[in-house]
Amino acid sequence: MNWDQIIEFSLRSAFGSEAIVYAMAAIGLNVHFGYTGLLNFGQAGFMAVGGYGIAASVTTFGLSFWVAVPIGILAAIVFALLLGAPTLRLRADYLAIVTIAAAEIIRIVVGSVSLQEYFGGRDGLQEFNDSFVAINPYDSSVNMVLFTLRPNDAWVFTVGWIMVGLACLLVWALMRSPWGRVLKSIREDEEAVRSLGKNVYSYKMQALVLGGVLGGIAGFLVALDQAAINPENFSTDVTFFAYTVLILGGAARVLGPVVGAIMFWFLISVLGNFFTQATAGDNPLISPEIMTGTQASLVRFIAAGLGLVLLVIFRPQGIFGDKREIALDAR
């Protein structure tokens, strides 16, 4: 058992691109669920729209990368408006079902053979990030004390954490403004807010758009990190893990998603690396009859599912949250 390696890999995962992407997606969900009480189960769809917005604009339509970025954001806004229009007047669980369905629609459509010439089918799209790589200031590997990053990873790492920082700052500023207070009151009691003359529908829509754009930016980060994009990056489980991240860190807290993402990926990665090592080699720690290498890679997802169940039951406020601020009781 090589613990140094496990710790190194896990720290890289906890601060690397996985954590950055999920932190960003969960910050978006925090605006939806944490502050406004909207149950968006289609964050993977927003990520897909953003990521494919960039990738298809550059690869398929030959636009410049810097034009593609606003197109990706615009796509996320349009997606939010389309989803919000029919559902935001309805009860919370309708939004949940519609958003999860819409995310699946996006994933099936971009992965389809019929539209392969635009979205690349199952293989997805590549070669869209040359302009991004071209301005990479790092020309050698960066030593981060506990782990090292190759130049491209370091560039994504830098940009990613700056984006996460800016998003946190934005959420912090917005949520202490009068606008943010209206969102929080919608979460607590929609009728009361309506009786004060606020247009609840409009506020919910604005929150959906804001969180959706943050989700779209998470999709950008997926695309930039892998320098490629495919439909499997945006499966329904991505949304579920983003919820786990959000609830672990603490919903309705500015830094909740960030801490949640770091902890989630550290734990997932420790479990993954531990069981991979425990089942590898000629004389594995765990005999192959009990667990094979393939099964070892599933243990972390079993644990993630179990973790989400236990968290919601025993500590719905997560690490930082306040139990009174979590919208878990609405019907």
């Binding site: 919370a92 079902i97 579920f240 099964q295 919601v312 039951i313 609405a330 019907r331």
Partner: protein
Amino acid sequence: MRKLFIALVLTLVGGLLGAGALAGAGPAAADGGSSGEDKLSINAKLIDTSGGKSEPVAGVDIVVTGADGEAVGTATTDDEGIAAVPIPQGGEYTVSIDTNTLPENTFLTDPDRTKATVNVLGFDATVQFPIGPDTRNLETWVDRLPDLLMQGIKFGLLIALAALGLSMIYGTTGLTNFAHGELVTLGGILTWTLNRQAGLPVLWAGVLTVIIMAGVGALQDLGFWRPLRDRGSGNIALMIVSIGFGLFLRNVYQYFFGDDTRAYSEYTSQGPLDLPLVEPTPKDLVIIAVAIAVLVVVSLLLARTRLGKATRAVADNPSLAASSGINVAQVITVVWIAGTALAGLSGVLLGVDQQVEYQMGFKILLLVFAGVTLGGLGTVWGAMLGSLIVGIMIEMSTLVVPAELKYVGALVLLILILLVRPQGILGRRERVG
């Protein structure tokens, strides 16, 4: 006497092997044929069907080429229109026909199809070259309509079995159960295990599975959901719990079952029956019959019996039901038992219809939601009606959109319905917040 008996047995075995080869049958035939691998051959068959007759075409040269492009052998069709070319071992071969040797006034149906590729497994393969003008009706959408309708009804009924439980559980407890698909999967996996590992026939494995699933339903409510309700957990909390629970179960299934798609030992490949309008396989008809029978029985139970009425009363208004003396907790447990058993049955039949894999239930979960929402969340009759419409729409939509996008139509419909009539077809207006 003894000789006669042996001859009879040999004929029977030969006939069976031949039938297996003709049907292009499953793994069982492959095992049987592997012993005679040295006598493998590819049979090309030429039958002239022009003008409604059925005459073998003799004297046509057939060439068989291996995967490496080298000729393996040639043969000429005999009086039965069959040319047998022996091949050294299984694998991929190309069979081509020399059209110059065709008799006068005899043409291939498709003049461009002079070659066919066959993958020979452990038994003889037969290749046909249709001859004479194409007399089959070219399939138009009108011809496909009845078959698609039947497939849609079948799929809709499978969805309805799962949807009924989902809708009743939602109606009585307010839980939107995102782990319901995993109950469908469990039905399929249990049947597969009882069938393949314990050696039970599919029928008994299925019956036993539904009984076990009823027990799972009781356990799930008493051991998991009821304690959570008693703690006063909110509905959204429970919904997220069900998401985590589903994620957990899916990965546990994959852990033990792997990510292969597996078939039961029976009813795997069946030829279609030749009925007027539709061409169902026997198992299609059985699935439809079983699903309709079960749904009718459950509907009657809900409509007529005391417990059924109590269930609908709780779904309508739990507090009012409780104050009129109905034991709400007990009703909910019964709903969980029935709902889980129905979801299990859906999985059993889905496994017969398609095959079993660890995500089979998760893949139809959104369609189940679409059916339930379309019919009206929490209603019993709506769930069945909505599921049927979703199933039929999915299959019918393949007339217009590529098959790979057929689920998209149903999901778009789900969103459109919410736009126009959010309470669903049979739902009541005040259910909507």
